[in-house]
Structures are given as C-alpha cells and as structure tokens.
Amino acid sequence: MSSLLGGLPQGNKEIKSLKAFSTAAERFEGAHVLCPGCAHSIIVREVLNATNDNLVVGASTGCLEVCTAIYPHTSWDCSWIHIGFENSSTAIAGAERANMALRRKGRIDPNTPEPKFVAFGGDGATYDIGFQWLSGCFERGHNMMYVCLDNEVYANTGGQRSSSTPIGASATTTPAGSHSYGEKQNKKDMIAIMAAHGSPYVAQVAPNKWKDMVKKIQKGFDANGPVYINAMSACTTEWKFPIHQTIEVSDMATDSLVFPLYEIIDGKELNITYRPKNIVPVRDYLGVQPRFKHLFKPENEYLIQEWQTRVDAQWEYLQRREEAKV
C-alpha cells in the first residue's frame, strides 16, 4: 500500500511536524481492552512512535498491562514483560543488565544497535507499591526509561487513592461524604524525588501536547542513565468525564498549570517547556471532573481557593528555579 521506509535509521523519529510523525509504523496494536477514551494508549503510542530502535518494554500490573496482554492476545509488536505490581522497573533493569552481559560475552553481536529499555507503571505502581524498586533502579543508574502513567488513582481496581491522588479528589477509599471532602493529602512530588536520585533527565509530559512529549521522550532516550517521565493520563472512568473529552480535559490540565510541563536536566537545570497563552483558572479544570464536584459546595469553596493558591505557588517556584538555573 504505502511506501514505508526501506531501512529506517535507528534512533529517534523525525518530528518536524505532526504529518511527519504520522508516518510512524506503530508497534502498539489496536483491539486492546482499555476503556474507550483512555489516555494511556495515546501516551504509549506517542512514546513508542518516538523511536525506531528495538524496544524491550515492561509494565506493572495495572490498566495498561491487564488490557494489553490478556491471554491469548498481545497488543505489543515488541518484546514485553510483566512480572508484578511493584517491579516493572526492576524487570527492565534486569533485562538491561542481561543485554550488557550478553554483549560483553559476545552472545549478542556488540556491533548491532542497542535496544531501548522502557518500563511503564501507573501512579499506584510508581508512587506507592513500586517506589522502592524504582528508587533502587535509579540509584543503580540503569540505562532505562520509566514512564509513569499518572491518572491519580488505582484505576484498574476501581479508583482507590494513591499517593498521587490530589487533595479533594473523591476516590473510593477516600470518598467525599457528609464528613469528608475526599483525599486529604497533597500529591507526592515524584519528579523532584526522581531528580534527586541523580537522574540525567526527568520530565512531566501530557499527551495533548504531543510535540513536547515526543521531544522529551527522545531526549530521555538520548540520555545516559535512568530517565523518569511523569505522564499525565486523564482517566475518563475515574475522573468521570465523558469519554470523548480526554484531550479537552488534558488541555485544561496543562493550561491551568495543574500539570505544568517542565524538565529537569541532571537534577539542576529546570526548564519550563510549555507556557499557556491563556492560563485557565484551576476552578474550571476541577469543574469538568465529577471526582471534584463536591468541592463546589459552598462549605468546600475554600478548598478551591487553596487549590488555586497551591498551583500558583508551584508555578512561581518553577519559574524562579528556571530563572536561577538551579
């Protein structure tokens, strides 16, 4: 049918334009069983399409794993491993070391191009149960990328809170009720934590800003060492917005600066990579997600104010750090 590319070069794909990017021959197949409108697969497609290199991919137990590798089908046109909930990072780290050993021993021709090692995990797997494993991998400096698909809950099991769940969100284990406004703890700052591990590159991305994401993924692939990518994943099922609004909600997340897009290089150079032309009020972002609807009761109005203050403070902090070049 179409011409493809007889012998694509290894390495990163061309992203001069979306049209150029769209010539990618995808390695993530359809007919997985993720929810209609799921942002996970948009993110995965963007990540996988960013490179022409051979891939070894891992995933933690969670929506992505369960829905793309349910026997007897696989949606992955590349090698892929799932072990358990905590350890997609360590699985990929083990594969990365196996690759080093086998090349050193000559069992793999060391002149063949190096594959890329990528582990995916949800926020539950990354921020909570797999935190130690992720930390260990980063401390050991494996040459791998870890992408957290952050939908701010344990989505696969019905929407329980994780340490990524933001204040005021109603999750099934921190539900809004007559005596509670939902989640009481602030969202954990994984990006700062992973940057503090000495990672050469950490970044926050969002699938609606595809060029920003793909650029960062490619930077990550080029970096030497463990790379952490926090990918905002707007979850229609758990954030409870209509299935066609995923990109719209994502736009509000990035434009309200609730999910600021930035990168930290070598732990000390912070760059803001997206500055919205029109900053959307946080209240509008909260307003399109029924998981926050109880915040609009008069007695909870102060929480929305606090939200705006927090987001403003974070934005201020990011700008100051960028300016100070630390």
Binding site: V56, S79, I83, T90
Partner: protein
C-alpha cells in the same frame, strides 16, 4: 537427551574468560562453595541482596567479580523481592540468572518465586535455610524451604559445602533442560553448613563449565526477530491449562534430574540420588529428615545398630517434586518411620510427615508413622537426641502402637508437647 547432546556438540563458548586454579581439595564453607559454583557456571546476571546467613554466597561472588573472574553482570538490589525481580527480567531477556537468600528474604520474594516458575524461567536460587520470624532468628531451620514448597520451584537439599557446590552446578543443567525449564532452589542449613568450612573437591573451571554448558535461550526478549510477550494475564478460561502445563514439567523433571546426577557422577565421582538412604534396606526404624540432621542421624543409626536396633535414615535429596512411589518403595519394609520436620508446623503435621503418609497410604505398608518437630531456630540436634528418638520409636514398635500421639516436639524446654492423639 540426544537433542541435548547434539546442541552441545560445539565446545561451550561463553565461560568466564579469567580462570582460577583450584586445589584438588579446598576448604570452603557452604557460602563460599556456592560462590565458586556460580562463578564456574558463568552466570550472566547475579541479582542479589544480602541476608544472614546467605550473605557469604553473595560476598564471595562479589569478590570474584571484583577480581575479574566474572564476565557477567552483578546487580546489588535494594531488597530480595527486587533481587528476584531482576533475575526474572534478566532470564526473560535470555540470560543465565542466579541469586541467594534466606528466611525473611525468601519470604519477601515469595511473590516473585511464583512468578518466576509460572513464567518458566530457569533461575537458580542458593538458599541458606534459616528460621522465619517472629521471633527473629538468624539460625538454621527449614521454615524457609517449607515456605517455598508450593512455589513451583524444584527444591534440592545439600548437607555439606561440597554437596551444595555440586548441586548448584547440577541445578543449572536441570532447570535449563528444554524438557524442564523451571527454576531450582539448592538448600543448605544455615550456619551449620553455610558457615562451616569443610573439604570440598571442586571440579576445575573447565570441567565445571563444560558440564553446565552454554545457556540455551528460550523466548528471549532480546531476540528481536521474534518479539515475545512475557507475563500475561490468564483468566478462568486459560489459567488452569497453564498451571497444569507447568506442573506437568515439574512432574517430568525427575527423569532429567536423574540423568544429570548420573552425568555428574561420572565427572566428579559423587553420585546423588532423588532419595538418599542410609542402611534402610533392612531397617526396622527409619528416620526421615533433611539437611545436616541426615548426617548426624547416620552416626546415631550406626550406634543404634551396635546396640542391636536396625536403624536407618532417609533424606529426600529432591524435596520437590515429591516422589511418592520412591518413598513408599524405600519405606515399606520398616516397622516404624519417624518423620522429623525442622519447621514450625503452624497447626498441622510437618511436610515430610505429610509426604510419607501420602506415599504409604495407598500401599499395604503400615509402619508406625510419627512426626517430630525439632531444631527450630537453630536448636541443636545431636547424636544423643537422635538415639533417644530411635529408642522411643523402638519402644513403640515393641508395644505395637504409637505412644499416644502422632506429633511430638523434641528438644524444647517445658511440659511435653504432643498432638494428634491416637487411641491406645
């Protein structure tokens, strides 16, 4: 086996390049012996975490690595669960992988044990048996071996450093065999074996690697000509078939184990068996036990024989898979069989007792069958203790019945503990 030979026709290529000259007799403790076996097997990835008393295996290997004797990779992970996770990732990527642990570490990695065996990855685990907390205890008993007993790993027991060295080398051959493809645990008693230096007659580096051979990859993630998805979810429509297939491989493994033991005997002069026995052919009273107790019991049995009691000892060298027919065959002539389990029973009879009872029930043999819980947390069991156990069993034989109960706790201070009473 013919297919095996054909594939290994070539000279094995991927041994560690820097070799060590070893003496014909070395004096190694169990941990250090393990570290040499791992080095000689040219493991590609050792992913490990330290825990007493298995730390020595990892430290010994780390020293070999630091001195240039290891061409593979060593990952010092941040926990035992991560250690086994790293082994799984490496193995699925086509590498020979191994690690070592004990007790709490084994308990922490139990989840990954099931994952490794379910994924049919031939990882080797050097297990130095240690009691499980609580209370916390670093000494040797078999509670960790027992914890892993249903994990789908082949489980082999060693009594001495030399046995552990031998069996670790065999473990790679057994697990990696294309008809098996299962992970293997090689056990040894914590401190009693791991920290006791004894004579070991090692193979040379070349002999050992020629025996173990090059690693055969199956469904490797680094084979980009055949991308593979590992670790899928199987629901009620598929899970049973996969577990059945896994179990079938486990049940078929004795054939391979025996072939490997035969081959190893030719090279080393040391022959291992699925079930080890000592003077059981004509024995009236047989003790069934694991680990160093097996050796002590042999001395006790000889002393009993001097006193006119026909005593014997049996040890399942291969603890899992269980060999019911073989057990029955070797025990059927006894008048009394005493199964000694070195693990806190948790409100049941011990696993050795259960295996033997299962073996004998469908035969006409009805020896007096009793269960002793002993040696927990490294509580010593010596020749005199074992002699009294034989004597007690002899009295039961003379009386024609068990002394009131199936299970006794032996060697614990305080009132006597007996469970599962039988009618007089």
């Amino acid at each position: 086996m013919a297919r095996e030979k054909a594939k290994r026709g070539k000279v094995s290529m991927y041994r560690n390049k820097r070799q060590m000259e070893l003496n014909s007799v070395e004096v190694w403790d169990g941990n250090f012996a393990n570290s040499h076996a791992l080095r000689q097997a040219s493991v590609d990835v050792v992913s490990a975490y330290p825990i007493t008393p298995s730390t020595g295996t990892v430290e010994g290997y780390a020293a070999h690595n630091a001195n240039g004797y290891v061409d593979g990779e060593m990952i010092m992970t941040e926990s035992e669960h991560a250690a086994m996770s790293g082994c799984i990732g490496a193995s699925a990527a086509g590498a020979r992988a191994a690690t070592a642990t004990s007790s709490q570490g084994l308990a922490l990695m139990v989840e990954t044990l099931y994952q490794a065996s379910g994924m049919r990855l031939p990882i080797v685990l050097c297990m130095i048996n240690r009691a499980l907390a609580a209370p916390l205890n670093v000494n040797g008993d078999h509670s960790d071996m027992y914890l892993a007993n249903q994990s789908g790993w082949i489980s082999i027991d060693a009594c001495t450093p030399e046995e552990s060295y031998d069996l670790v080398l065999c473990a790679f051959r057994i697990g990696e065999h294309l008809d098996v493809r299962l992970p293997v645990i090689v056990n040894q008693d914590g401190f009693l074996t791991s920290h006791k230096a004894q004579n070991v007659r090692p193979l040379s580096d070349d002999q050992a690697y020629d025996f173990v051979g090059d690693y055969k990859e199956v469904n490797s993630m680094l084979n980009f000509d055949k991308p593979v998805t590992h670790g899928v979810q199987t629901e009620s429509d598929w899970h049973f078939e996969h577990k059945a297939k896994q179990n079938a491989a486990m049940m078929a493994s004795p054939k391979v184990i025996e072939e490997v033991f035969e081959e190893y005997a030719k090279i080393s002069g040391r022959k291992y068996n699925m079930i080890e026995t000592y003077k059981t052919e004509d024995a009236d009273i047989i003790i069934v036990c694991l680990g160093t107790t097996y050796q002590t019991a042999q001395v006790a049995a000889d002393k009993m024989r001097e006193e006119g009691v026909k005593a014997g000892v049996l040890m399942p060298r291969v603890f899992r898979p269980t060999q019911l027919d073989m057990l029955a065959e070797k025990l059927k002539g006894a008048k009394a069989v005493v199964c000694m389990d070195r693990s806190a029973p948790g409100g049941q009879t011990g696993l050795l007792y259960q295996d033997v009872a299962a073996a004998l029930f469908n035969t006409s043999a009805r020896p007096l069958l009793s269960n002793i819980v002993y040696g927990l947390g490294g509580r010593d069991i010596n020749i005199e203790n074992l002699k009294s156990i034989y004597t007690h069993a002899k009295a039961e034989v003379d009386a024609g019945k068990l002394d009131g109960a199936i299970q006794r706790f032996v060697g614990v201070r305080g009132p006597e503990l007996k469970y599962y009473s039988v009618e007089g």
